[in-house]
Symmetry: C2
Subunit: 365 residues, 2 copies
């Protein structure tokens, strides 16, 4: 068991992670991980967000952590972030939260720590920035693979922010996408996005003048914003469409009601949140309200792993309207991504090696 | 705000931590931290234990994490451990769990990561072995300070394992202890403990032939075992005694019933535990059973912070029998210890400095 021990902890950068990650591989790895989870062969510890008010700068300190074990690949992942977060009001975009680059050099702190299920060692420390985008994209890509029509060729994309690119990448990885129409409120941003991603994906990505225009004629509608308000309209839906979302509020209640089939990422549903000084006792009635939010019983919908493992169908006819809601992240995503990256980094001999001894001890605790 | 930024992350060893920590300081710091908690000026994220069966070696992989924020000192702590754990059966000691030193060099992995509430940076990475003993000892020491008679002079100590020494240290830090009588089942072990700790504490520590002998005449009875069964007997109690425990099962139901006053470390009560492949849904009835275990409603007892902050009395007469139960650890303990150690390490210029840049990124996640 200890024969092939790596006595170093690998430290990687975002550039290295980006050079190693590919969307199709990430989607395949996640498909396996979710199926394992559905078969009780993987595990998650739900995300927790713990906040401390910083009234001096009208912000909060928020520490976020989530964990997941993926024994097939021998890894357990802890993903953490330590942020100063503001919730600035900007008219219609009220409640968009913003992580301040509060660290020296305008940097952020988000890390994935990867441990061995074999012997407990700290295998690697990775920044979470690139992984974050890939795992969110890959998850919605998997939703598309499981739920959209196989002949889906057109994507309507709402949003051109930091998640939108990997969303487009993911759709192209699983369906023969020929055209993407992108809308976001700021014209310059959607134009820049269209230009960049036309090149990167090798298919036409064109800016649309409105969300409605982006959705018109689409086989797949991907919402990739951080809006707390609906960004599409149920009147725009057509038979056979697949809707994809990163946030519960992007898609209005009427869309969920009109969909023939809805799946969620996880029934863990939302993080365990607490803020210093607030009443943080579990409130069952509040919880029940949240579960039933948007007029559908979320916890009655299948999880993505039930689709990947074949326990539930993703779609049963070309006329169905389907909807996948990537409600909250899972530590397991970071375990799957981490395993993939670590393997490739070792083969490519990338990364900085730190003595494992730094992170172990001769004293039992 | 960024003026005094330390651009390095400090890495310390257990030897360095031990050279910096003192029990009286640790008790003082915890007293402040618990009072802050009782006044909503500190916060905890409850410990989670997530397990993956390792049937190949008749063990489990267990990842444990807990968090706490201590804004008075500007720190947030994450404490993690990544262990291979066996539950060997050894007759009466069934269910004693054992962390295997599964890492190269027979080592364990237990770490405290200390973050800045000011800007989010990773301030330090510390091994948890020494801190663990000090914070458990200091917590029971604080229980003694709040609840035992001020003129307590004799300690009866049950257990001579790795927690017992710091328990004795803590009692001596807060009361004018003149004599300690120690019992543990293996004669050689209790003799060795008595020898070592007589020297270290500068007072007589004598081995007792039985638990009853150790308890007889004691003002303070400290249980410091990892037993899942009672190690003392209610018939041995005397008026004015203070009982101290690390584990709910060390002290039998009858003792709790006979005590005039019981306090607990935290009403968080026990970790959130889940094991891959087991039914892990929250079970309210099981929870209720656990809360009321041992025939008393644990969540109706004051927490240590209610005592330190003066919201509840620890003792109101010299005749009362008092009992403090250190039911489960808190992340806040590691924040308090971490703040203390970090300050002293900086002043002493101890530790290895790692570039903070290794643990930050230019990409938002």
């Amino acid at each position: 068991m200890y024969r092939e021990l790596n006595l170093m902890t690998l430290l990687l950068t975002n550039d290295e992670v980006e050079s190693l990650l590919s969307m199709p591989e990430m989607i395949n790895e996640l498909e396996q991980a979710y199926s394992d989870l559905a078969n009780n062969q993987a595990i998650n510890r739900n995300r927790s967000d713990t906040g401390i008010p910083r009234p001096d700068i009208d912000a909060n300190y928020v520490f976020k952590s989530m964990e997941g074990g993926y024994p097939r690949r021998g890894v357990y992942a802890l993903r953490i972030s330590s942020d100063i977060i503001q919730w600035p009001s900007q008219g219609a975009r009220q409640h968009r939260k913003e992580k301040l680059p509060a660290l020296p050099g305008n940097r952020w702190l988000g890390l994935v720590l990867l441990f061995s299920v074999e012997n407990g060692e700290l295998l690697a420390v990775l920044p979470d920035g690139i992984i974050q985008r890939f795992r969110v994209g890959a998850t919605n890509g998997l939703g598309i693979k499981m739920m959209s029509r196989q002949d889906s060729r057109r994507v309507g994309l709402i949003g051109s922010g930091f998640q939108a690119g990997t969303q487009a990448m993911a759709a192209c990885a699983v369906r023969p996408i020929e055209k993407i129409s992108v809308y976001s409120p700021t014209e310059a941003k959607r134009r820049a996005f269209a230009l960049e991603w036309s090149k990167r994906l090798g298919i036409p990505v064109t800016p649309a003048a409105s969300a409605e225009e982006a959705v018109a004629g689409a086989d797949i509608v991907m919402c990739a914003t951080n809006s707390m308000q609906p960004v599409i309209n149920a009147d725009w839906l057509e038979p056979g469409m697949h809707l994809s979302s990163l946030k519960r509020f992007e898609i209005p209640v009427e869309c969920y009601r009109r969909a023939d089939r809805v799946a969620v990422h996880t029934r863990l549903w939302e993080p365990d949140m607490q803020m210093m000084g607030e009443e943080n006792l579990p409130d069952d009635s509040l919880w029940a309200q949240r579960k039933a939010a948007n007029g559908i019983d979320w916890l009655d919908q299948p999880e993505i792993g039930q689709l990947t493992s074949g326990k539930e169908p993703g779609r049963t006819s070309d006329r169905e309207i389907t909807c996948f809601m990537n409600n909250v992240g899972l530590g397991l995503q970071f375990a799957a991504a981490g395993a993939l990256i670590l393997d490739k980094a070792r083969r490519a001999e990338l990364g900085r090696e730190l003595p494992l001894e730094w992170f172990t001890q001769t004293v039992v605790s």
